[in-house]
Each structure stands twice: as structure tokens, then as C-alpha cells.
Symmetry: C2
Subunit: 271 residues, 2 copies
């Protein structure tokens, strides 16, 4: 039994899809979410900047006595996770290994997949970390990788217009559709919000692989194995570095946890 | 006669539409363009950050011996122009006064306009600087102001797909179309790239007001009045703080000046 909270962070809103999965799977845990909404997007930042920012956030979470940290952002997971794990003694859970697990779990299922698409931000796709890790794990199928840079800004603007989404999904995924993939990995924590449009465009024969489920499984296993579960929690604390207005609107639109107070953390207090 | 170059800067690519107009109108001048592509977008930055960044860039331009500076960005013009003008002794030309001039010039034309739309980034529209300055200048018509936050990221991604643009323009401008405006001010230097789609959506009875022409007129008048014209120049130097790849692609797609070398300026060298 360990009643300390679990830290979850992202550059902005996307990590809320992971938080939602964690809250559903581990309802007795306390969670502290940190969204660096002032410095979002991380997509155009250098590795050094992403290391600095994610290290500042991790320090802040450690100061708030978290027992582990979920890096709910594929870009940070690709670019800075080993760096963070070296700096801090508590365990980090990242999106990449969850993504690898979800691809392997699908491709070893009875209906074997030999062609898997991976979609993410430019930084995530350019890093080729998923490809490298999948090959190291023995995946022998065909990989089709594609950056979809418009998805994040349009989600963050809160666009829910069907016409806009259909045209943007077709614009980005047109070439991937022609590849006749069997499954596609959503390698960006924003993308589960678009599942309906992506599925609708690619067709029901393509399986959407959402790593959020696997990251929550990995965390649950760890808490159980090390006897660190909490039986008395259930709270969610939301913290952002930028304006709370759009964050609140986003929470209310897409998620079940609806805190009345989202705290604003001054970035000058992050060291 | 003054052979010193003219400085032009923006947070990223948008200012290139202004540079194009300046190069066409003042072909014998030398220009130094600075795009802060590493720290783009400025839209989610605080006033203090925008003052610091634009002051660093202005210092860099002054060190390169420019005779005047064109702030080719509406957001910076709205938020930091008086601050910059206090700091430096050379004259600054900003987008807001050019926008005001273009609205007044239209509304005093034989076919009077009483209803003018203003479109820009969230920061620009929230500042209400155009409205305040137009009222101070005696404009008595109706103003309809609207932020179009998706235009910049989609332009910067280099999207030229008709279907995407038609759906995004309709998404943002649907409410403005219903207002039956007579003219619309493009209060963001990116937007002239979209002129065709905006005109197509609003219809030919709505006049598009592009302030770029007015800023180049103001600069030309100043150079002539103070005898600071150059008769021997004609060069364009392009400088960015981020990757040159997307900048080059953007230049080649939309503009006539196609430098083979775009210089990368290390932001640590900006003080």
C-alpha cells in the first residue's frame, strides 16, 4: 500500500486521453496531471529544450511526492525518456514501449498482421524510435510511417466540425489508405480523440491500435508487483502552465473528469 | 542616398508576403529578412516574451546596420511596437497603421463602406488595437472582428489542397459571411496567401484589404522624404532561427525570391 499520487504529464492536452484511461483502470489511485500549455507545441523544439522542459516538470512532480511518472506524450517519450530515467530514481512509463506492446500484441493475434501503419507528430516519426524498437523486439512485418502535423493544432483549437475533420483526415492519410494496412498505431496521445474519423476513413477492416490501454496495464502491473497500490484515493489534480480557459473547455468537451479548479503553475517556479 | 539595408522581421514565414511586396515596390533596396522560426508561433506567448524576442531581433538587425525596420507581423505590431520604438532610434514600420490606412482608404472611396471585417490571430483580435486605432482615426462604420487560429498552422504546413482550404475557410468565416460585410482587412501577414479562398468564399462583392501595399508605400515615402533611397541595391538576405528546410520549401512554393542559402542564426547569439 502506497498512498502517494501518480504523476502524468504532457506538453498540453493530449495526455488527457491517457489520464482518462488511467483513471478508469485505476480508480483508487490519486493522479497529478501537468500540461505545459504555455510552451506547447513541443513539436518544433530541440532535443535540449524538450529535455530541459520535461526535466523541470518531472522535478515539480517529484516535489509533489509522486510514486511514478507517466510521460503521456509520444514526442517526449521518443526524445527524452532515457534522459529522464537517468536523472530520477522513480520509474517512468512512456508511450513508446506501450505502442510497441500494442503492435506486438496485435501482430501475434490469430489474424496475423504483416503491414502496420504508424502515425504521429513530425518529431515522433522523424525519430524512427518506434521502428527501431519494433525491429529490436523481433517484429518482421511491413511498417508504413506517416507524420500528420495538422491533427494536433486542429484538436487543440477544439474543432469538432465533421467537414473539417473528414477533409483533414483524408488529406493526411490518403497515401496510407492506398497501402492496405492491417492496423495503425496511434503514436500521439491526441489521436484517440480522432478515432471515429480515422476508422471511418480507413474502413473497419483496419484495426486502430491505441497504446493508452497498454500503458495503464504496465503501470497497474508495476504497482501490484511492488505492492504500491492505493486503496483510498480517487482524486485528480489538474495543473497547467498557460491559460486555464481553453484547458477547461477541452476537459469539458472530451473527458469525464471535470475539475472546477485547474491550477496555473508559474514556469519561473520550475527550476 | 543611403545604401544601408532595410530590416524586415516576423515570427516565421508570414512576413515573406510583406517582403515580396517591398521587393517589388523598392527593387533597388537591399533587404535583410529575419524569421524567428524556432520560437514560432508567437500567438501563445506573453507580452513580455514577445517584447524580449522582438527586441533581440531588432538589436541583431541594428548590428547589421539597417536604416529602418519593418515589423512584418501583426501580433508583434499590436503587442510590442511602441516598446520597440522607445528602445531604438531608427524608425519602425508596423502592420497596424498599414491596416488602418487600408481600411480608411477603402471607406473613403466613392463606394462607402460601413461594415468592415477584421480577421487575424487570437492575440491580434484580442488586443482590439485595430478597433481602437480606427475609432481614434474617426472611422464610424461597423466593425466585425474574428480570430482565425487555424489559418497560420495550416499555411505553415504548406497545405495547398483545395478541399482542406475550402472547409477551413468556411469553418472560420461562416459567421462573418452572414454579416454581409463590404470589405475585410487581412490583419495577419500570412493571410494574403489565402486570398483566393477567402474571396471565393465571401464572394466578389466583398473587397479584400491587404495592408502590405500600404506598408511599402509608407516606407517608400519615408525613404524619399529623408533622402535615404538606395539606387544600387537589390539583394535579399534570408535568416531564420530554426530549420531552413521548411523555410526554403515555403519560399519556393509561394515567392519569387529564391535564395539558395538561407542562414541559420543561433538564438544564443541574440542578446
Amino acid at each position: 500500500m502506497d498512498t502517494r499520487p501518480i504523476g502524468v504529464f504532457d506538453s498540453g492536452f493530449g495526455g488527457l486521453t491517457v489520464l482518462q484511461e488511467l483513471v478508469n483502470s485505476l480508480p483508487k489511485e490519486d493522479f497529478i496531471y501537468f500540461g505545459d500549455t504555455l510552451r506547447v507545441p513541443y513539436g518544433n523544439k530541440t532535443v535540449e529544450e524538450i529535455e530541459t522542459y520535461s526535466s523541470q516538470i518531472s522535478k515539480w512532480l517529484v516535489q509533489h511526492d509522486v510514486k511514478s511518472i507517466v510521460v503521456a506524450c509520444n514526442t517526449v517519450s521518443c526524445m527524452a525518456l532515457p534522459y529522464l530515467q537517468r536523472q530520477f530514481s522513480i520509474p517512468f512509463f512512456g508511450m513508446v514501449s506501450a505502442g510497441i506492446e500494442s503492435v506486438l500484441s496485435f501482430s501475434s493475434a490469430p489474424k496475423q498482421s504483416n503491414k502496420v501503419g504508424i502515425i504521429g507528430t513530425k518529431n515522433t516519426i522523424a525519430s524512427r524510435v518506434h521502428e527501431k524498437d519494433l525491429r529490436m523486439a523481433g517484429f518482421e512485418g511491413v511498417l508504413v510511417e506517416l507524420a500528420c502535423p495538422l491533427f494536433v493544432p486542429i484538436i487543440e483549437e477544439g474543432v469538432t466540425d465533421d467537414g473539417v475533420w473528414r477533409s483533414i483526415v483524408e488529406y493526411h492519410m490518403h497515401d496510407m489508405k492506398k497501402e492496405n494496412i492491417d492496423a495503425v498505431l496511434l503514436a500521439c496521445t491526441h489521436y484517440p480523440i480522432l478515432s471515429e474519423y480515422i476508422q471511418g476513413y480507413l474502413g473497419n477492416q483496419v484495426q486502430l491500435l491505441n497504446p493508452n490501454h497498454f500503458i495503464s496495464d504496465a503501470l497497474a502491473r508495476y504497482l501490484k508487483d511492488y505492492n504500491l497500490q492505493n486503496a483510498t484515493g480517487g482524486s485528480v489534480s489538474l495543473n497547467v502552465t498557460g491559460s486555464t480557459l481553453s484547458f477547461n473547455a477541452f476537459c469539458h468537451r472530451f473527458f469525464e473528469f471535470r475539475n472546477d479548479t485547474v491550477s496555473v503553475i508559474n514556469i519561473d517556479s520550475l527550476i
